[in-house]
Symmetry: C2
Subunit: 596 residues, 2 copies
């Protein structure tokens, strides 16, 4: 129907007769003439109808915002004073000759240029309207371009795009699995995959050598700040490569993506052991744009009597650390109180601080509620170690190391944000040498990644010292976000069984849950490993937005609902009967506690 997209017209088209199709972005009457800003996927162009074209002028007079029109007219330069440099097509306009109303539009639920005023709920309910906004159009176009770039890169590297099932095996205790009742197998269920992990490993056992997939994954959990029940993963697996080679492919992919899509040349990707990241940044995904580090002062605090610090300093599992905020002496008591509340979320029992007003005056020049508990030389030694200068504030954490790291790590981000201490640009990073396991809180161990991750030691060493064993896992971090992660996998059955033993998974349970994997490992599984990127988050970062909902066409809310289609919804008794399930009555309905 069209000869050109609206947004691509320019002075190069002057005197051409063009036909455009699109939406009325704005309509104005001015001096007996009608101006229509016509919008399509590529942008906006101004069309002018004057009364000479009587029939079409009258139609133009009838149209309103968001009407769908087809317009034919002649492109002409705008007059001297009417050029609009803010508009890509601002040097020209179309003198409308013919106008066809392809569809009318009721008054929109909200004006597109007032979307911030209406709140996200209204925008999600009328998502097809919200998506008309130019920035949403651009974001989804960028997402498409990023996905396409990923595919091209990986295919050029010999990766095959292989689809794995969405209807997969449900496992007992599969917490967070979405379940799908089977009609043909009464009482049994499929699960939607949290990732294609086992399938991609089996593809390696099958000899495909290099697999990738842009894969939908599902997790039924209480949705934290920015999670979605369904999300998209760039899923990669390779055979016969070690971690260095796999990380090299992943790094080149991200580098090429930033270069091709954003024109950004990423800096080098440093590699940092997990232990160092926790020690220096209190996080396994440190934002290196922030020039602030946690500094251990345990040795100094072992010399003081102040119990709050001395206790953790003497405790092998404790830590006392300081976080210096440059220029932070201006932070108010009120703000400090807020930060104290904030770190309590992570288990910190308080937030000690020292403001550095005048270092030349010694401890007299420091302001703090805790100085009175410490010898002067310890305080000054500490200031020296921190490289503190006048105008800084220093925060302290003293507790079990985990609590100190988590609370100061989180505080580091929050303060940096508030104080404008987050640097510009892109700070990528590999975090490596993760522990195999972490404390499960019940005296046992749980995998830090997943139980298919290869350890960097032998099966015997793993069995002897599981708590300190390291894995061959690696996470790619960008600006404080984990954008990808993976590992070399276990490819030998005895090692896999050794890991299951550490996890106290019985042979019977292992065989019930992962029998097909164990079996596959004994029929000639190649060494293999891979990783997965969170596409939504990667696109979010590349779009410069702060929510993944802004880069998903039809996202769900934090209660996992779609406001536009009103999903989930009710189904009828017949459907449930066919699926061999029934609803549990609520406690209220049944008048008492429901039995399991």
């Amino acid at each position: 129907m069209r000869s050109h997209f609206c947004g691509v017209l320019s002075t190069a088209n002057i005197d051409e007769t063009v036909t455009i199709c699109g939406w009325v972005d704005r309509r104005r009457d001015h001096g007996g003439v009608i101006f229509l800003d016509m919008r399509d996927r590529q942008g906006v162009v101004q069309v002018v109808f004057d009364p000479d074209t009587e029939e079409h002028f009258q139609r133009a007079d009838r149209v309103r915002s968001e009407y769908v029109l087809k317009i034919t007219g002649r492109v002409r330069a705008r007059g001297e004073g009417t050029v609009n440099p803010a508009m890509a097509t601002g040097e020209i306009e179309i003198l409308g000759k013919e106008l066809e109303i392809l569809n009318s539009a009721a008054t929109p639920p909200f004006q597109l240029d007032e979307h911030t005023a209406v709140g996200e709920e209204v925008r999600l309910r009328y998502r097809y309207m919200d998506l008309r906004r130019q920035e949403m159009q651009e974001r989804l176009a960028l997402r498409s371009k990023i996905t396409s770039g990923v595919r091209q890169f990986l295919e050029a590297e010999g990766f095959l795009d292989i689809e794995t099932p969405i209807l997969t095996r449900a496992t007992p205790e599969g917490a967070r699995d979405y379940l799908v009742p089977s009609r043909t197998h009464p009482g049994q269920f499929f699960a939607l995959p949290q990732s294609p992990q086992l399938f991609k490993q089996l593809l390696m056992v099958a000899g495909f050598d290099r697999y990738y997939q842009v894969a939908k994954c599902f997790r039924d959990e209480d949705l934290r700040a920015d999670r979605q029940p369904e999300f998209t993963q760039i899923d990669i697996e390779t055979s016969f490569l070690d971690e260095a080679a796999i990380m090299d492919i992943a790094e080149r992919m991200v580098r090429e993506l930033f270069s091709d899509v954003l024109g950004v040349e990423l800096p080098a990707f440093p590699s940092m052991p997990y232990a160092e990241a926790m020690e220096r940044f209190g996080s396994d995904k440190p934002d290196l744009r922030i020039d602030m580090e946690l500094v251990s002062v345990d040795d100094l605090m072992q010399q003081v009597d102040f119990k709050v610090f001395r206790g953790p300093a003497d405790d092998a599992e404790g830590r006392v650390a300081a976080l210096k905020v440059p220029g932070g002496a201006t932070i108010s008591r009120k703000e400090i109180d807020d930060y104290t509340k904030y770190v309590s979320i992570f288990g910190a029992k308080g937030l000690a601080w020292v403001k550095v007003n005048d270092l030349a005056a010694g401890v007299e020049g420091l302001q703090s509620p805790i100085l009175k508990f410490m010898p002067e030389d310890v305080v000054l030694q500490m200031m020296q170690r921190l490289g503190a200068v006048n105008g800084d504030i220093v925060f302290f954490g003293a507790d079990k190391a985990g609590i100190v790291n988590e609370s100061l790590g989180a505080l580091r981000l929050k303060v940096a944000e508030a104080q404008g201490l987050v640097g510009e640009g892109w700070a990528p990073l590999w975090v490596v040498d993760f522990p195999m396991f972490e404390d499960d809180g019940n005296g046992g161990l749980t995998p830090l990644h997943h139980p298919f991750t290869a350890p960097s030691c032998s099966a015997e060493e793993l069995a002897a010292q599981p708590a300190t064993a390291l894995s061959r896992a690696y996470d790619m971090v960008l600006n404080g976000y984990e954008i990808g992660g993976g590992s070399v996998r276990i490819h030998q059955r005895d090692m896999q069984e050794a890991v299951f033993r550490v996890l106290e998974i019985s042979d019977e349970e292992a065989s019930e849950k992962f029998g097909f994997l164990l079996q596959a490992l004994q029929y000639g599984a190649p060494p293999h490993g891979g990783l997965a990127f969170g596409l939504d988050r990667l696109v979010m970062l590349m779009c410069g937005v702060s929510s993944i909902r802004d880069v998903i066409a039809f996202p769900k809310t934090q209660t996992a609902a779609c406001l536009m289609t009103d999903a989930p919804g009710a189904v009828n008794a017949q459907q449930l009967r066919e699926l061999n399930i029934r609803l549990r009555q609520s406690a209220a309905e049944s008048g008492g506690q429901e039995q399991g």
Copy 2:
């Protein structure tokens, strides 16, 4: 780890020292020397270990089929008599120097070269073994290439890859929907999409103009011969294009795919109205490689007394048609009996036939149980109309037109297959001008495609004559398979409501089920349309195989089960409780009939 893939080595590599990684395809001892055929994704190469490399020779002596090895050695030309022209690498071999066993392998559940003997069930259970077969490797590689080709074509045409949700709205009466109980919304369910139809239409309303997605779709139905509960669709939607323009894009895509991937230049795509396809081939997806047509003989049969033919010939809804099979006079009585049984599946009450032995002898030269019921001139007129020659057989169908078309249409395929009458090559076709609706068997009408398909008439005409209204739908047919189909959609609310009225969907029901669509149509929906290709079937055809299971990495069985992972499976009571559902007890367990 490797320097080369096994399958790519050639005389160009002679005297190079190479390292390969892969699986032992075959191991032979011969004259004190060990021959290993090493296999990877790219093919097979022969490695020779002689006793000079003592340590490695001993290792080579230990390896068995499907062991995973890393081998370094020197490429050399094979000796005169030992060149193997059947093998891509048959002119060379590797003289092994070093051998590392990366993983051992238990005796495989079946030998890869004996896969046909073990049956599909064993192969599905050990799918990771079955996928090691070279033809499975090639098929999935071809699938990846086809998907990639589709993406590249569509992206070059300005289509954006946009993901639509998998967790979508469940609707009451959504037969064949897979349902997913919601944890956060007790008693409510998501449905897995049978297609992204409504979402892609909403993307057009949102102004994306050209959308595509390689989309997973789901259908919970008794799996006929070759269906899968989850399947993949190349899903396409465009705005501001009419059917001719949409069909042009689709046709160019398929043409380019065949050219790029198979090196095949497809012939022209003729366009055939649905009515003509049914009349001539008894099918809306005729296989044009078969040079046989249904020929109507109603006018002739109105002249005979033979009730079986005369009745349908006189009935406005009846049809009497003949199918001439060239050279079919050799078909035995036993075969005719089998065909008679076959057409009865489609409701035919019998299968009359005439063998043409000697036309010159008039009716005397014809052999048939029904000739005695017909005047000679009618029989001869009929033979003339059919262009029958000696050696042919003619089959007849006489019943309601639907039954005649379906049974003779199916017979046409079956007989052509059996008689070797299916031509070579590719026969593409567009079928157009479908009816909007078909009889739902209960005196009502049901959409032939789906209720969002635009009619080619006005809303008033539709309301007046719904049964004869045609739609703006089109199906792409290839060699008797519908590989794609679509339509121009309804983009105006009043037309959509008119269709719902024909379907006897009340305003309330329409609003409950499709309220968001109706609402979207009134806020400026552009004219739009699109289509969807069944990727599995397209790949199946392009691979030259007869089951889509052969082009899916991890397919399900006809009872929708995965034999490898043993899905679906049981879940525990706690999981069900969290999802607010419980299992229905079976009638046996509860000792009686279960209430709805």
